[in-house]
């Protein structure tokens, strides 16, 4: 972000001042007791710059309306085929200058810098993605942003702002990738998503880091009146990953679906904190996260349904199920409710289980060897989420990635 306009520079100064002022996270805080902030580079010094390991960018991507790529925070030129009139897919730093009218009022509106991780991102982001879909426009093909790290930079901070105007429609993919790095990298990302009245968005976050990466990801999506927002978070890679996904039902009649799939192995540590906040009446949210774990991995799911006063007719569901494949792996699930409105329909459920012996027996009784049977059962368990990934090539990639973890 070289030549930021004055207004943006000022905001960054405030964020930087906050960063100096706010107490350092210790891990004693209630919100932080499962993932030490220092493991994410949120406390103490960031990892030093190191040796670059090339990224394997061989993503089998299907056709895209536009693509952006960032390596260690440095953007390459965005690619866009014939985008419909008014659609913008741009580097965010450049958009501060080129699209101040669209960006200024919304940037930092959902993810501010009043807390330390927020301030850290706001004070340090170097580049990012800005996507704007104007009123009534349907973007038929998805856009894809690839954020990669090589280890050459110890800290990588990026930001995304997505605006889907009234009645507009889009599918947006954020992919995170690296090779297995020799030197650790701390990544901070903040993704703000605003879907206006009657807009429709499908947003995918595909976290596929190699070893060495610690990633703190914040994704906040606000759904306006009658808007439909679907987010899919897939966490497969990285040493320590913490995803904070917040869905705000800002308008009545909005429909938010939060789907999540994670598979941790080796010593991976993933924490997902997913919140549905119903600020308007008669809105719907449905949250389904499924996770599998093996080896010595540890995952945490914290889900919260927040219904402040004044949101009658809220219809909200939250489910997290985990499948632990061996002793030594641990899944924690903490479902939470904060309901201050009467006349709401809310349910939450969290479960941690093992492969069902009866399922295993049934498959094996048909000649299927134990390992193959387990693989079928795990993929079957995750299928409930995978089946909702509408882009076929992405779904197939994910199925393969899951199968590789099981091999």
């Amino acid at each position: 972000m070289a030549n930021a306009p004055a207004w943006a520079a000022e905001l960054r100064q405030t964020a930087t001042a906050n960063l100096d002022r706010l107490p350092v996270l210790t891990g004693e805080e209630e919100d932080w007791r499962f993932t030490p902030p220092s493991d994410l580079g949120l406390a103490g010094v960031a990892p030093a710059d190191g040796t670059a390991v090339a990224v394997d960018l061989a993503a089998t991507a299907g056709p895209r309306a536009a693509t952006l790529a960032f390596t260690d925070g440095t953007p390459s030129v965005p690619h866009g085929a014939d985008l419909p009139a008014g659609v913008i897919v741009a580097e965010l730093g450049q958009a501060l200058i080129d699209h101040e009218d669209l960006v200024r009022s919304r940037l930092y509106s959902l993810i501010g810098f009043d807390d330390r991780p927020g301030a850290l991102n706001a004070a340090t982001w170097e580049a990012g993605t800005f996507i704007y879909i104007p009123r009534g426009v349907t973007l038929a093909l998805p856009t894809e942003t690839l954020l990669s790290a090589t280890g050459a930079r110890g800290r990588v901070s990026a930001r995304t702002l997505i605006i889907v105007e009234a009645g507009a429609k889009a599918t947006i993919i954020d992919r995170y990738r690296s090779g297995n790095l020799a030197d650790p990298v701390a990544v901070s990302t903040a993704t703000e998503i605003i879907v206006a009245e009657g807009g429709e968005l499908e947003h995918l976050s595909l976290i596929e880091w190699g070893a060495g990466v610690r990633h703190h990801a914040r994704i906040t999506a606000s759904a306006g009146k009658d808007a439909r927002v679907r987010s899919v978070v897939v966490t497969l890679g990285g040493d320590v990953v913490r995803v904070e996904a917040t869905h705000i039902a800002a308008g009545s009649g909005s429909d938010s679906r939060a789907l999540g799939l994670f598979f941790a192995d080796d010593h991976q540590h993933f924490e997902h904190r997913v919140v549905a906040r119903h600020e308007a009446p008669q809105s719907y949210s449905n949250l389904l996260y499924k996770g599998a774990l093996k080896d010595q991995s540890h995952t945490v799911f914290f889900g919260n349904l927040v219904v402040p006063p004044g949101a009658p007719g809220t219809d909200a569901y939250q489910t997290n199920r985990n499948l632990v494949l061996n002793e030594g792996a641990r899944a924690d699930t903490i479902p939470f409710l904060e309901i201050e409105t009467a006349e709401v329909k809310c349910s939450h459920a969290g479960a941690v289980g093992r492969v069902d012996d009866e399922h295993l027996f049934y498959l094996r009784s048909r000649g299927i060897p134990e390992e193959t049977a387990k693989r079928l059962i795990v993929i079957g368990f995750l299928q409930e989420v995978l089946a909702h990934v509408e882009l076929e090539e992405v779904r197939r990639d994910l199925e393969h990635a899951v199968a590789r973890k099981l091999a």
Partner: protein
Amino acid sequence: MDAPILQIKSLEVAVDGRTILKGVDLEVPQGEIHALMGPNGSGKSTLAYALAGHPRYEITGGSVIFDGQDLLDMAIDERAKAGFFLAMQYPVEVPGVSVLNFLRTSLIALHGEELSPREFMKLFQEKSKLLEFDASFTDRYLNEGFSGGEKKRHEILQMAMIEPRFAVLDETDSGLDVDALKVVSNGVNSLRGPNFGALIITHYTRILQHITPDVVHVMFEGKVVRTGGPELADELEAGGYAQYGSPEPAVAPSA
């Protein structure tokens, strides 16, 4: 008489430390179909699961020779590879695993990779037709949301595709309507021959009118207490198990 495909000697089985089978002796020569009848809780399913290798059923004594091999020594999937099949009384639902993927994985495991996708589909279509199994089920998940009768039909479809050397049918007839019973019986009869044997566990003679058994065994309190010809089934249906000490006769199906 051919050499027995299944030879059970003094088999003792415990579940959660409680002995259920108390010395079962039973022999089925290859190519024959036998019926196994007995009151609720007498241990019929326990025998079926123990033969299939279910881990909950602990073998505490006796032996089972299957096609000349020690069946009890084999892993669950090895038993299937040796030609043993169990059509279960209560098939479980396995979420997220599609019927087609399951069947293909099973057949590849049993017959090796040479089964091409095209051959597989041909076999599947042929057998689905035989068993009037709705093709739209293929994308559905294993037994999930299947009606009781559909689950049973699906068990027999699997059997027809796998073509085992020997099958135990645990109350496959229960819960089937008249037409389904005929279809399922046809499926079993289509396999009947010198290379296929079966043990049909049932409470009723209904299925035995379609599949005439060579021999009928009676199980009572964890033992085979009587073995006879097909007429034994009629006798049991009329008189129940009172003569063996059972308090009440088997009830005819209401359907």
